[in-house]
C-alpha cells in the first residue's frame, strides 16, 4: 500500500467538487439509506465530509471511508435535491475508483469484473451455463410476479425471490439486426443491456415490435455486453473504460440516428458517465454517442409522437408507475412512460405515494447490504400495494428485479412490467 500522501494527491483532483458542499444537510430529507439508519456516514453530507477528511489529513482510515462510501445506492436523490448543486454521484464514483486504485479491488470483485464483465462473450457463456443449473436449484414461487426461490435454503440467496434467468437470452433470439426504416423513419440503434438480455428479453422484443410498428429502422449490433456501471460502482475504472471502448466500436455512429435503451440505468450511464469518466478521444466519441442516446419511452413519445387519446389513462385495469432514479432524477424523464401507458389504452393510471422514491436496489448494494435494501424495498412495496393495482410499470430492469422480490415475498399478485411491454401488447398483431 502506498502512503497516505499519495492518496491525498489522488483525491486532490476532487477538491474543487468537494468544496461545493456547504454541509447544510438537506440531503438527509431524501437519502433512502439514511432514512433507514439515521447515520450521518450513510448520507451524502457525511460521505463528502469523509472524503474531505482524507484530503485534509483529518483521518487516516481509507479502508473505513471506502466501507462507508459503499453504503450508497448511487440513486442520486441527494444530488437532485442539493441546494449547492454538489455532483455527489460523480464524486462518489470517482472516489470509489481512487480508493480501489489505492487499496486494490477485492479478489472476488476483481474476478467478476476483469474475467467476466469485461468480456461480453465470456459473460454470455457463463450465464448460459448458470441458466441450465438454475432449473435444478430454483422453483417457481409466485406466478403473477414470475419469481422463483431456492429449492434448498442457501445463504447466498438470503431468502430472495428472484426473476430467473431467461431460458433463451435476447442475444440468442436476435443475434444481430439491421433493418432499414420505412420512408422518412429514423434509424434506431438498440443497446440491450445485461439484465434485459439475460432476464427480461421480452422487454427488448417488445421494443423491437414497437419500433417496427412505427416504421423505424433498427440496428442491433452483435456482441453487446454490459454498460459498465457495476464495474464503475465497484471502483474498477479500467474495466468500465474497456467496456465503453468496446461498445463505441460496435455502435458505428454512421449507422443510426438515435440510440435507445430500455434500461434506465444503461441510459443514464451511456448519457452521463461514459463521457464524464473517459478521457481523450474516447471521451469525445462517448459525448457524441451520449447526444444520440435516449430512453425508449422518451424516444417514442418525444420523437415519434406516441400519445394517448384525450382522457386516456382514467379507466381500465389499474396500473401504477415507479420512477427509476436513473430515469427521473438523472435524466428528468417521468412524463413519457406514463404517456406510453396512456397510449396503450385500457389502463387506469393510479399514482402511488412517492413514485420517485428509490426502490432500494442499487445494483451491488442489494448484494452487499440486502437487509437495508429490503427495508427500503418494503416501503416501496407497501405503496405499490396501497394503489390496488394489477400491474406496476417501471422503465428499469434493476428496479423490476427488486420490486418483484418485494412483491413476491409479501405474497402480492401484482405483475411487474416495463411500460414498453404494455404499449407493445396494445398493438395489432
Amino acid at each position: 500500500m502506498a502512503d497516505l500522501a499519495t492518496l491525498r494527491g489522488l483525491l486532490r483532483g476532487l477538491e474543487e467538487e468537494l468544496v461545493v458542499c456547504m454541509r447544510c444537510g438537506m440531503c438527509q430529507a431524501v437519502c433512502p439509506v439514511f432514512g433507514q439508519t439515521g447515520r450521518e456516514a450513510d448520507v451524502a453530507r457525511g460521505k463528502l465530509a469523509l472524503l474531505d477528511g482524507l484530503l485534509q489529513a483529518m483521518l487516516e482510515d481509507p479502508e473505513g471511508v471506502r466501507a462507508r462510501l459503499e453504503r450508497c445506492l448511487l440513486c442520486g436523490s441527494c444530488a437532485a435535491q442539493c441546494p449547492s448543486g454538489v455532483n455527489a454521484l460523480g464524486i462518489f464514483l470517482k472516489a470509489r475508483a481512487i480508493l480501489a486504485g489505492y487499496l486494490g479491488l477485492s479478489p472476488a470483485k476483481k474476478a467478476i469484473f476483469r474475467r467476466l464483465l469485461a468480456h461480453p462473450r465470456v459473460l454470455d457463456r457463463a450465464v448460459a451455463f448458470a441458466a441450465v443449473f438454475q432449473r435444478l436449484l430454483a422453483r417457481p414461487v409466485n406466478e403473477t410476479v414470475g419469481t422463483s426461490c431456492g429449492r434448498i435454503p442457501a445463504p447466498v440467496l438470503a431468502g430472495r425471490h428472484f426473476r430467473p434467468l431467461a431460458a433463451e437470452p435476447f442475444h440468442r433470439r436476435c443475434p444481430s439486426r439491421e433493418t432499414p426504416p420505412r420512408e422518412g423513419g429514423p434509424r434506431v440503434a438498440l443497446f440491450t443491456g445485461c439484465l434485459i438480455d439475460k432476464i427480461f428479453p421480452s422487454v427488448a422484443e417488445a421494443a423491437l415490435r414497437v419500433l417496427d410498428h412505427r416504421g423505424a429502422g433498427v440496428f442491433v449490433p452483435p456482441g453487446q455486453g454490459c454498460c459498465g456501471i457495476p464495474a464503475l460502482s465497484g471502483g474498477d475504472l479500467a474495466t468500465f473504460r474497456r467496456l465503453v471502448a468496446w461498445h463505441l466500436d460496435l455502435f458505428d455512429p454512421g449507422r443510426f440516428d438515435v440510440l435507445v435503451t430500455c434500461c434506465a440505468t444503461c441510459t443514464a450511464t451511456l448519457k452521463k458517465l461514459w463521457p464524464a469518466l473517459c478521457e481523450g478521444p474516447v471521451a469525445a466519441r462517448a459525448r457524441a454517442l451520449a447526444e444520440k442516446t435516449m430512453d425508449i419511452s422518451q424516444f417514442l413519445v418525444r420523437r415519434l409522437g406516441v400519445a394517448g387519446a384525450p382522457g386516456a389513462g382514467r379507466e381500465g385495469r389499474v396500473v401504477t408507475v415507479h420512477d427509476p432514479c436513473h430515469l427521473k432524477k438523472s435524466l428528468g424523464v417521468f412524463a413519457e412512460p406514463r404517456e406510453l401507458i396512456r397510449a396503450a389504452g385500457g389502463w387506469a393510471l393510479r399514482e402511488m405515494e412517492g413514485s420517485d422514491d428509490c426502490c432500494g436496489m442499487g445494483g451491488s448494494f442489494n448484494l452487499a447490504h440486502y437487509e437495508l435494501s429490503k427495508a427500503i424495498g418494503r416501503l416501496k412495496r407497501a405503496r405499490i400495494a396501497a394503489t390496488g393495482c394489477e400491474v406496476v410499470a417501471t422503465g428499469c430492469p434493476a428496479c423490476m428485479l427488486q420490486i418483484s422480490d418485494m412483491l413476491s415475498q409479501a405474497g402480492d399478485a401484482i405483475a411487474v412490467r416495463h411500460p414498453v411491454e404494455l404499449y407493445a401488447a396494445s398493438l395489432p398483431d
Binding site: 468544496v19 430529507a29 453530507r45 449547492s84 448543486g85
Partner: protein, 462 residues
Amino acid sequence: MIRGALIREFEAVFGKDAVFAAEADRLTYAYDAAPLEQVMPGLVVRPTSGEALAAAVRLCGENGIPLTVRGAGTNLSGGTVPLPGGVVVVTNGLNRILELNEEDLYAVVEPGVVTAKFAAAVQARGLFYPPDPGSQAVSTLGGNVAENAGGLRGLKYGVTRDYVMGLEFFDARGETIKTGSRTVKCATGYNLAGLLVGSEGTLGVFHRITLKLIPLPAAQQAMMAVFDRPEAASETVAAIIAARIVPATLEFMDQFTIRAVEEYSRAGLPVEAAALLLIEVDGHPAQVAEDASRVEELCRRHGAASLRVARGAAERNKVWEARRSALSALAKLKPTLVLEDATVPRSRIPDMVRAIDEIAREFRLAIGTFGHAGDGNLHPTILTDKRDREEWARVERAIAAIFDRALALGGTLSGEHGTGIAKACFLDRETTAATILYSQRIKKALDPGNILNPGKIIPAPA
C-alpha cells in the same frame, strides 16, 4: 480519548449498533451547517429510547465528558459542533409523535421528529404548526426548540418559543425535570420552558416536548411586488405594518438575489428590479380578500413598479418557489456561504438594507440580501471561498460590522440561528458584563460539572 471500558459501558446500554467509536464515523459528527472548524468528538451515541437518552447524560456526567446533543445538524451558529473528545448524542432515533390532541390543540413529541413531517401530520388533521425554519425538511423539533428557530411566518405567527407549552428534559445528572403543561394556562412553578427554549443544549436534554397547535387558516393570497428602488420596498414593508395589517409572510429580496434566482431557476423574475416583496395574507376568506386589496393598494402607493397577484395554487407555488430557491441560487455562486441573521426592529429595515449595501462595498464582498422583512430579520448572505484567507479576513470584519450596525439600530445579533460558537464572543456588544456573569452563574448552578454543551452561547468565565 474515551477509554475502551467506557465505550463498552455505552455499548452495554445502547447496543453496539447505536455506539459509533470508529474514527470514520466520529468525523461525520464533527460539524454542523455553520462554516466553522471541525471538531472531532470522542464518541457518538444514538439512543432510541428515553431511558437510553437519560443513561447517556448520566454516563457523561459521571465521567465528566462534555456532551453535545444533535438533531439533524443543520445549525448555522455551531451549536452542534462537539467539544474535542466529547460525546455526541444524536436524537434522530427518538422520532415518535406521542400524541396529537385535536380537542385540546396540542401535540407531544420526541425531540427527533422532523419539523416538516410533524407539520404535515398536523395539517392532515386540519390543524397548523406554523414555525417553518428553512431547514424544516430535515431539522428536528428538538433542535428547533433548542435554537428557538423561526421561519417565514414569524411576523404573524411568532417563532418556536410561542408554541412550546411544556417540556420534559434531563438535567446534567440525567434526572427528569418537568415544566409547563397541556393546558392553555399554567402558572405552576418557575417557567423553566422559557429558560430552556433557545438554550442550545447547555441546560438540559429534551426528552418530550408539548407543542401548541392552532386551526389551519381557511384561505390565503400570495402576491409579488416589484420595485425599482430598494428603499421603496422597505418603506412599503413599514407602511403595511403601520396600516395594522399583519401578513403571514412578508419577504424581501434584493437585486443581487433576484438575479441569482433567475439565473438558477428561470422563474421569470424581473432582473432589472431593485427589490422584490413576496407577500402572503391568510385567514378567513373575506378578511384575506380585504387585506390583499389593501396591501395591493399600499404597494402601488409606495411605488411598486408592478404587482403580480397569484391566481390559484400553481401561481402561489411559483411565488414561493422563487423565495425558496434564494439560498440555493446564492449557494451555487461560491463554495462558502455565510448566512447571517442579525435582526432589527422592523421599522428600521430600510436603514439595515442600506447598511448592508455599504458594508458590501466597504469590504469588497458579494452579499445577497433576502429574508423576513416583515419581522426585521434579514439574511445578508456573504458569498466567499473560505480557502481565500485574505478574503476570509474581510468576511470576518464584515460580519462584525453587520452586528454593530444592527445593534446601533436597536436590533439583535441573531433572529433565529442562535448564538452558538459563532456569536458567543459578540454577546458583550449587545448585553452587559453583568448579563454574561448572570448567565454563567445559571449555567454553573444547573450544570456544575460543565458537561452540557460547554462553550456555547456564553463565553467561558475568565
